[in-house]
Symmetry: C2
């Protein structure tokens, strides 16, 4: 069984590198820190290799003492564990360790995983890579302490929308319950990940909501963010995370779109749908891409022309 093979390799080797994908999310960061801390408890030499700086919203995560830039690894890992990473390209500068390591262990939950490791454990039923890491830690016989529990909980909460998304399973809830009983404060972690905003982000949300207009008898919601709004609120692209959901969450809306004017006058478009509409078809027709319920593309301006063209395209796939 691949899980026990992986555990055996980890138990038998002493120099272990852990890496995840570039632009890491909560699952990437939390899984890596949890596994790093667990291996450290066993007396291993562990390093968590990073491509990017820790996003400030995850600054509370324990295990930061294990993290170093890929280029500055203090030792050559015998084993490289890649977590939540679908392919080698997404390892970023970590590819140097991928090439140098004796054994590469690839643990992930993405269907698109290219099985690039020597040992591959890809469980697409797992809501988060952290669910698999939880099993690895348990099988190594390491008791979960509060630091490890916080890392695992954060990773799972990040990939499940704090247990709201449909990927949340009986396994997810089982693990979350155990982590809470160890002392994890779910409200604090969910707030840090999902609802905490800077004043600027909050003000931008208000302006974005103010811009919402409904079309097609209320089935389409359009949100517009101009260059001027970005300048006035002092916000960048990264401050718009989740804003489009306030358009999607209007009663009766099937398709929501957020159009944002970039500095060079192009229009970046994000699309979301609620039930039946395949937004990736719309995005593809503008040379963009994504999934059924979340996709995007970029077109030339001006804003109003981009809105008109999009509305025409949406009208074709809405049900009466």
């Amino acid at each position: 069984m691949i899980l026990s093979d992986i555990v055996k390799h980890l138990m038998q080797n002493d120099n272990i590198g852990i890496i995840s994908h570039v632009t890491p999310d909560g699952d990437a960061l939390g899984s890596s820190a949890a596994l790093g801390l667990a291996l450290e408890r066993l007396g291993k030499r562990v390093v968590v290799l990073r491509n990017d700086r820790l996003p400030s919203k995850y600054s509370f995560l324990p295990g930061s003492h294990l993290a170093v830039d890929c280029e500055k690894a203090p030792f050559k890992p015998d084993i490289l564990v890649a977590l939540d990473c679908g392919d080698v390209e997404r390892l970023g500068s970590g590819v140097m360790h991928y090439e140098a390591a004796g054994t590469v262990i690839n643990i992930d939950h993405h269907l698109s995983n290219t099985m690039f490791g020597n040992l591959n454990l890809v469980d697409t039923n797992a809501a988060a890579t952290a669910e698999i890491v939880y099993q690895v830690i348990k099988l190594m016989g390491i008791a979960l302490d509060l630091d490890i529990a916080i890392c695992l909980f954060t990773a799972i909460a990040a990939d499940t929308g704090c247990f709201r998304y449909d990927n949340t399973s009986i396994v997810t809830h089982g693990i979350a319950g155990e982590l809470i009983s160890i002392g994890v404060k779910s409200s604090e972690i969910c707030r840090r990940i999902y609802s905490l905003r800077t004043l600027e982000q909050t003000k931008m949300l208000g302006r974005a909501i103010d811009s919402i207009k409904l079309y097609h008898g209320g089935k389409t919601a359009i949100m517009k963010i101009t260059k001027k709004m970005m300048q006035e609120t002092g916000c960048g692209q990264e401050d718009l995370e989740g804003v489009i959901e306030f358009a999607r969450d209007i009663e009766g809306v099937e398709i929501a779109a957020l159009l944002r004017e970039t500095d060079d006058g192009e229009i970046k478009v994000g699309l979301r749908s609620n039930e039946y509409a395949d937004t990736s078809e719309i995005a593809a027709s503008f040379n963009g891409g994504g999934h059924r319920k979340a996709s995007g593309y970029t077109v030339g301006g001006p804003m109003d022309a981009a809105v008109e063209t999009l509305l025409d395209r949406i009208e074709k796939i809405l049900r009466v």
Copy 2:
């Protein structure tokens, strides 16, 4: 053991009334419907007695065929089961059935429960009354079907902020996992309870956010909603649920206040705190009340005077 006594009474009697508190929330509605459906499966004559119309956001709940107004009960219940209800006053018109029933079973999770039943099962560790109802149903030997599961899940999700609040325990997660494995769609239910808004509610949220001003070096956030804003967006008091959270969720804020001008020119004030501030002290000094982290009061207008007085009061309890 009280739980098995309750189960014995329910199994041995055939005419059962279920009631909850006036202005019912998700736990009250979901617990009542779940228990009603379960007893119906056993061939009992069951009625869910109501004081209020079903709030539209809970219109998806199964079991509505069991509900009738308190005054229109089709039979006299031998047993009245009160769910999620702290005292007799909160039964509303249901008090007539309370007085007439042979046995009153009181199942609740509120510390303030007055133990008004003949059999009282008050578990303050339960995140929701539905957690206790789940146990009752299991002990009666009734298999959970999808309808019952949806009712229980909705009740638990409503009282735990979809598993975000700190009342969420290992028991809560254990039950939620089982309900999902029966087929409950968590994303759909959490969306209906928490994020779905009408266009009017969404627009009001945008305007409320726009009104936010920070004071005391960013520790206090004040949101103002005027009579004019209510008229322009077509919103009523019930459309402001959750709006204050967008002020509390600003980084650095300890106390958030939402001031709303009523039709007769008074100012209704809602208060929230994040960590240490006891807002109930502030509310009490204006003859209001509530809990540490959530409280409220009403004062005379105009708005600006109410804001000034409140800011003075807040300043006294903020830490430097």
